[in-house]
Each structure stands twice: as structure tokens, then as C-alpha cells.
Amino acid sequence: MSSITGPSGDRGRRRLGDTLFGGGAGLAGVLVIAIVVFTGVFLAISAVPSVLDDKVNFLTSTEWQATPGDLRFGILQILWTTVSISVIAMIIAVPLGVGNALFLTQYAPKWLARPAASVIDLLAAIPSIVFGLWGIQIFAPHLTGLQTFLNDALGWFPLFSGPVSTGTVFIAGIVLAVMVLPIITAMSREVFAQTPAANKEGALALGATRWEMIRTAVLPFGRAGVISAAMLGLGRALGETIAITIIVSSVAPGAGFFTSWLQGGETFASKIANNAAEFNNPESTGAYIAAGLVLFILTFVVNALARIVINRRKAFA
């Protein structure tokens, strides 16, 4: 539709209204681009002085002390916790999301498919602070037994070492899986629904069962979509703030590097949220903004990759 151009005015000149309106649209676009660019720029401007004053290595230190004049902060520990929680969430949410998408597109009868899809979408409508509240007060107590069992059985393995605390990385990962499930389901559903009927019918005509049809026709067709759905979910998981802040208990400063999923910890986002009260001098603020900048870069890369995967697929299809 962009190929159609409107009447070009009296003497072939653009009309004033067109110039203004087109300019307005262009301006809005430029503003949107500027917002993203400025996000990176302003975070960097605020973060760089503190990172330069950092007395330990910003990338490899596990310490976090944002005292003005004695800045010793590194992201290794929060990177570990962030990645751990996101990995747990992905391990649960990707298979579950794909299963849901298959159920909605290939199994559910027509009358059920739409309302069922809306139900999954409603999960995305629940505010994350409510997820957090429910996660720590209602859901976590139900997992005490499982966590103790994991610790008893696999405690020799660093991921499951004790002592087990109440608000753990493990529980946060499970709650986060529920939170990113709608994203993964919605996007996988979209690509599965586009599977050419000829492929599906061809498989069925050859005598495939429904599951064999899915395995040979639907899943190969939707693979790129599932990958980018998983990455969008990952992007969301990396940046989730308040639910994790509420669920995962923070660990006393000065503790050495800890790896266990059955203990507390802080992610990039929850570290910043927990210490918002410390934003009273440029040096400490800069330290937290540096953590925010790393989070921005991480989510930027993950989201960009997701879009590239799905757009390449569109180009081929």
C-alpha cells in the first residue's frame, strides 16, 4: 500500500498538509529511535565514571559494595543468579509453551481453541507484583518438601547445595516460567497455525498418526518460530524485576561466590530494585546504572537475535 501515492497537489508540488503530516510521522519515528539510542547513551554516561572508579574488575568480581569513595562492585554473582533463574524458567516454559501451542492449534476442537488461547493470554495480564506476592506467600511453602528432597539427593552437586532457604532461585525460576509462558505460547501458536495444510494432510494421507504428523510437518515448519519465541521469553525473564525481588531473598553482603539454586541471591533487576533507596549520590547510582546497562545490552542482544531469526523465516516462507 505504500506504493500508492496520493494526488500531488496543484502544480506538482507537495501540499503543505502532506508535508506537515508526513513530517509529523517521520518525527514520531525519529523520536522512537532516539528513545532507544538515548537509553543506551544516558545509561552509559551515568555508569562510566563509577565503573572507572571501580577498585575491582567490573566483569569478574563477585563483590558488590557501592559506597561512595570506596566502590568495589562486579557483576559476576548477579550475572550467575540472573542466568540461573532464566535458565530454570526456560527449561520449564519452552516445552510447556510448545505443548500448549500444539494443543491449541492441533488438538483442541474449534469451539475450545479460542477461549483456551484467551485463558493463556490472561496469564500475561496478571501484574508481576501479584505473581511475586503469590509466589512467596502461597506457592513457595508448597515447594519446601521438593527443595529439601533435591538438597538431600543432589546436595553434593553445587547447584543443589544447602542450606535451603525459603525464597530461592529455584522457586523464582518456576514462577518466572509461568510468567513467560504466554509469550512463548502465543508466538509458537502463531507459527504452528501457519503450517501449510498440504504438509499436514500429506503426512496424514501417508498414514501418519496425529503425533507423527506434528513431528514431521508442524514442528519442522515452526522451528524458527519456536526459537525466536524462546528468545523473546528469555529477554522477558532476564529483565523481570519485582516478582524476583519479592520472591528471592537477598544474601548478606560479603558472602563468597555462591552457586546453589536452593538459596537466595540477586539478579540485575532485583539488585537495582532492592537498592533504589541508595540512589542519593552519583557514585553509588552509577554503580547500579552500570548493572542496568549490562541488563540493557543483554536484553537488546537477545531480542535482536529473536527478531532476526523470525524475520529470516518470514523471508523464506
Binding site: M1, D18, G29, A108, T241, A269
Partner: protein, 302 residues
């Protein structure tokens, strides 16, 4: 892509390795059960969460005090008070956000669809994708670094709104864009044929036709931002009293009200936390369902 060849290549193999084992039907049944289970597992937390907030929060909501009073002078020990200050705060901040984000989002969508050939449109489209994945805490830090640190303004409800703009714009853009693409080209051509300029065609013909999609985007965008907590933590302080001024002073919002008392153990405070959670869930769910319903019953999408 390879989708067309894949069945030819793989299906015989897939059938061969299970032929004669009698396991194909079993495997098919197992797969069906797994898919149904996946759906059931996904529904459990939704029902559980909704049930929890209703069970624990509903008792306060039926009282008009909840909707008409603030928490001024209320301590965790005292029963009473309402969420008026927080509801007003949430609505005011959402309104300020919408006033900025809706025009910006609609104009960007117009750029993407009606002026789609330009190179800037492709960059904008990518940027909108990045924005839709932007963590709310990063948006909040950006506004802090820009509005508070660099420009020297103090933390306020308006600063929160600014950061929420970043989260609302992509929702409005995508929903509007999708609907503009559905507007039949014949409508545009007919308008051009009558000598109507492009800008007037867009404003008088295209936008009204796509109105329902725009409304959906606005409602879903509002639902998204009203539930956000992270920007509030960084950009405004909580106040127990009513503050209608977006530009100065502490200001309550429902997520902040929940956050403020969430670690309280005293019964009156705990009750209010769940009641605030239920209020927030209700507002967000209503906006969400309204948005989706409008999208479904729109005239363009048949």
C-alpha cells in the same frame, strides 16, 4: 524453505522405525495426553492466583471505605482506610502516559504502514521490537539518568509516566500497525481518486476505519503499564495520602501500595495488601478483556 521437503525426507523414516512395533498408537496417545496436560498445567497457576487474590482481598473491596478513603494516618495495626489515593495515582500516571504515548505510537504506526517504503521505517520497526522487549527497570533507570540526574528534576509521578511511555509505545504501535494494514487499499485509492490529499485520506478515511485496532492497542498498553512496579520504585516515593500533583511530591499507586506493606505480618496490613492486589488485578483484567473483545468484534477482521 525446507518445510516442503522435510515430510518427504523424514516421514518414511519416522514410520519405518516404529513399523510393526505396535507402539505408534501408544506413542500417539501419550503425545495427546501430554499436550492436554500441558494446557491443564498452564491453567492451574491462573486459577490459583485469581482464587488467592479474590479469597484474601474481596472482603475489603465490598466496603465503600476502600474506594473512597486513603491510608492517611493508618498504621499496620489499625484496620481501615482505603486505596483511593493509590487508585487515583495509578489512573493519573496512566493518563499522563497515554497522552504522550498514544499520539507517538499512532504516528509511528502511520509511518510504518502509510510511508512504509522509507529506510527510516525499517529502523523504526526494529526499534519498536527492541522497545517491546525493554525491561521496565531499564526504562526507569534511563528516565532517572535523563530526567533526574541530567535535567535536575525531582522524582515524581510524571517521571514514572515518562518511563511508562517507553513500555506503552510498542504496544500501541504494533496494534495500530496491524489494523492499518487491514484497511483495504480500495478505500485509499477511492479517496485519492477524488483528489483528497494523502494526509487527509489518512486522517479522515484510514484512521477511522482502523479505530478499533487503535483502541485495542491503547487498552492493552494501559493494562501493561498499570501493573508495572519497577519504575515506581525508582522514580517516585510512596505516600499514604492523596496527591493529585503529578509533578511534585510522593505519590501512591496500587503496585507501590502493595510493595510498601508486603512484608508486614500484622493482619490489617496483610488484608489491605491482598485487597490492593485484587483491585489492581481487576483493573488490569478489565482493560485487557475489553481490549481483546474490541479486537475480536471489529468490522475489519472478519
Amino acid at each position: 524453505m525446507s518445510a516442503l521437503q522435510t515430510p518427504e525426507r523424514e516421514l518414511p523414516a519416522a514410520l519405518a522405525d516404529s513399523r510393526g512395533q505396535g507402539g505408534r498408537k501408544v506413542r500417539n496417545t501419550i503425545a495427546t495426553v501430554v499436550m492436554v496436560l500441558a494446557f491443564v498445567i498452564a491453567v492451574i497457576p491462573l486459577v490459583w492466583i485469581l482464587w488467592t487474590v479474590i479469597e484474601k482481598g474481596a472482603s475489603l473491596l465490598v466496603d465503600s471505605t476502600w474506594w473512597l478513603n486513603s491510608q492517611r494516618g493508618i498504621t499496620p495495626r489499625i484496620v481501615g482506610g482505603g486505596a483511593y489515593h493509590a487508585i487515583v495515582g495509578t489512573l493519573l500516571q496512566a493518563l499522563a502516559t497515554a497522552v504522550i504515548a498514544v499520539p507517538l505510537g499512532i504516528m509511528s504506526a502511520i509511518l510504518l504502514v502509510e510511508y512504509g517504503a522509507s529506510r527510516i521505517a525499517r529502523v523504526v520497526s526494529f526499534t519498536v521490537d527492541i522497545l517491546s522487549g525493554l525491561p521496565s527497570i531499564v526504562a526507569a533507570l534511563f528516565i532517572y539518568a535523563f530526567w533526574v540526574t541530567t535535567l535536575g528534576f525531582s522524582r515524581s509521578g510524571f517521571a514514572v509516566s515518562l518511563s511508562l511511555v517507553l513500555l506503552m509505545v510498542p504496544v500501541v504501535v504494533r496494534s495500530t500497525e496491524e489494523m492499518l494494514k487491514l484497511v483495504p487499499n480500495e478505500l485509499r485509492e477511492a479517496s485519492y481518486a477524488l483528489g483528497v490529499p494523502k494526509w487527509k485520506t489518512i486522517v479522515m478515511i484510514v484512521l477511522p476505519t482502523a479505530f478499533s485496532g487503535i483502541l485495542t492497542g491503547v487498552l492493552l498498553g494501559l493494562a501493561r503499564i498499570m501493573g508495572e512496579t519497577a519504575p515506581l520504585l525508582i522514580l517516585v516515593g510512596y505516600s499514604q495520602s492523596i496527591n493529585m500533583d503529578l509533578f511534585s511530591g510522593n505519590m501512591a499507586a496500587l503496585p507501590l501500595m502493595i510493595n510498601n506493606d508486603r512484608q508486614q505480618a500484622l493482619e490489617p496490613a496483610v488484608e489491605r495488601v491482598w485487597a490492593a492486589a485484587l483491585t489492581l488485578v481487576l483493573i488490569v483484567l478489565v482493560l485487557n478483556i475489553a481490549g481483546r473483545a474490541i479486537a475480536r468484534f471489529s468490522s475489519l477482521r472478519k
